[in-house]
Symmetry: C2
């Protein structure tokens, strides 16, 4: 919820000369997205999002993210389309930062999740996974199991500030995850951050997916595991099995899940809970004084981890185990 880099009207005007999208008539910082500076840009020809990529996004990854959006849009997936400049380039520089203009996507993200949202999400995610098959660039998931240990080491000694026994809980879980993490599931392009604020709906229909800045190559079922955590828990921490069922069933209609994927879902869900617990813990402990973003609560994800730890099989997610 911030704009980190202030773009002057002169800089904007100069920047837009490199594009064929008209002249700016309005330009407002958007209070969404914690990683980058986002502006809503209206020209006399249309509406766009201008993003300045801040430190947390690695510049070398940007061609992958922008290329993926181009690729998915070309396959009919509703997602923002990078706008290419007169020289053909979508990735440019503004105010000393890598920057891009992408198309504006109509719709609003759902603040209160209903089961039909999960159903539509499942369908859209499966279509995205299929469309990603033919994308040739690769990007490793730096926030999967191989990356968790170093994150944990960087904040384990202060984990007790959040909860007394948090260090021990995480240590045990991390060891188990490292030992039993799968190696032979179907892989492909995953979004890796499909939280509700990255999924737009309009008139009861899913209108698009946004924010591909965590996308990477990983197990396709891991994207589902992330969404089990992000979409299927209620505010009081309880798990809504109906939502999970709708998500998984509608996904499977488009891309049938293999038995190996279904069986491993509880472990992937634990891993996904660990990943967000770790990054939230890190952000909480390294929250700079006067920062413009309130860090998210790590304990929410500790609760989710605890839930999946006691899951015996996928009947807990509303499946009968024989997809």
């Amino acid at each position: 919820m911030a704009v980190y880099t202030e773009v002057s009207d002169q800089e904007l005007t100069t920047f837009l000369c490199d594009y064929d999208i008209g002249l700016a008539v309005s330009f407002k910082g958007i209070a969404e997205g914690v990683e980058n500076s986002n502006y809503l840009l209206r020209t006399d020809r249309g509406t766009f999002i201008l993003t300045l990529y801040e430190k947390r996004v690695e510049a070398e990854d940007l061609p992958y993210f922008l290329g993926l959006m181009d690729h998915l849009a070309g396959k009919g997936i509703a997602c923002p389309i990078p706008i290419h400049g007169r020289d053909g380039k979508a990735l440019r520089e503004l105010c000393g930062r890598p920057s891009a203009i992408i198309s504006f996507l109509k719709g609003m993200w759902p603040r209160r999740i209903e089961p039909y949202h999960c159903a539509m999400l499942g369908e859209a995610m499966a279509k995205m996974h299929l469309a990603g098959n033919s994308f040739v660039m690769k990007r490793e998931n730096k926030l999967s199991v191989a990356g968790w240990r170093s994150l944990f080491e960087s904040c384990r000694t202060r984990a007790h500030e959040i909860q007394n026994d948090l260090e021990e809980i995480m240590e045990d879980e991390l060891a188990q995850l490292e030992e039993s993490w799968p190696t032979d599931l179907p892989v492909g392009i995953i979004h890796a951050d499909l939280f509700p604020d990255n999924v737009f709906f309009l008139g009861g229909t899913l209108s698009g997916l946004i924010d591909f800045y965590f996308a990477c190559n990983d197990f396709l079922a891991y994207d589902l595991a992330i969404c089990l955590n992000a979409w299927c828990f209620e505010e009081d921490g309880s798990f809504n099995v109906t939502k999970a069922n709708r998500l998984l069933v509608e996904y499977s209609r488009v891309r049938p899940l293999e038995k190996s994927e279904v069986d491993i879902l509880p472990l992937l869900a634990r891993g996904s809970a660990m990943r967000f617990l770790l990054t939230r813990l890190y952000d909480q402990l390294h929250h700079p004084e006067g920062a413009m973003v309130n860090p998210k609560d790590p304990q929410e994800y500790l609760g989710k981890l605890r839930f999946h730890q006691q899951v015996k099989d996928v009947t807990a997610y509303g499946l009968d185990g024989t997809p």
Copy 2:
């Protein structure tokens, strides 16, 4: 730079039923405005700003602010127009907060001020002052001389945290201002917060004035004094006499200044510097941990106060003293 109140899509849909402006197709928090929660709302019929008034705006003042925008727009002043609901009311409630939808104004605020901006600002402000003449509601300026003492008392003991001798400087100045503040200047409706981010330009022309939430009845020349401070200093703290000249001359073309107003400008400018020094000092010292807004620098306004203290007459502002 914040959105304090999160509006759900369901709450928005219900809220919009009371208006005849179509269905929402997009809804984004804007990272501008530190007092209220502002959303950019697009419907299938147009673009609007939805504002939820947070604690710092007193609810009883809202009919004045919204009525003033209605009045000024009716007189041809380019400013946001409150959208009235089906029952005729512009002021409603959303998420437990007073709320209103206003029309969207095209344009961008100038990040780098040029003299022509000041000239156009002067002309627009004078027209606004004339148009305000026939507005019948009244609102006292709570941040004029009568309100400064209590603000000062609430932070004087900690003023040294900003600068060693700040308490003494402010004490002396405040006493002088209280003693010599005028009582018989032309009065009317003033905007009272015409900083660059509240003035939009488009294609080299002033396209509108926004954010009337400090508007009040006070000396018209005090609005000019505020703008001398907000528009005519360079980033290095130096005063740009050309900008001041353009501001004052173009203002006078529309509403000729009386000699009493011109003569008192240096004192009004000191008062205006004191007002923003006080509120910035207060905000700095009372800045809550984890707040989403970075407080503005009080010392900027101490420097401006120091400048006006050594001004002998209005030749320092580019006028010859005989308007």
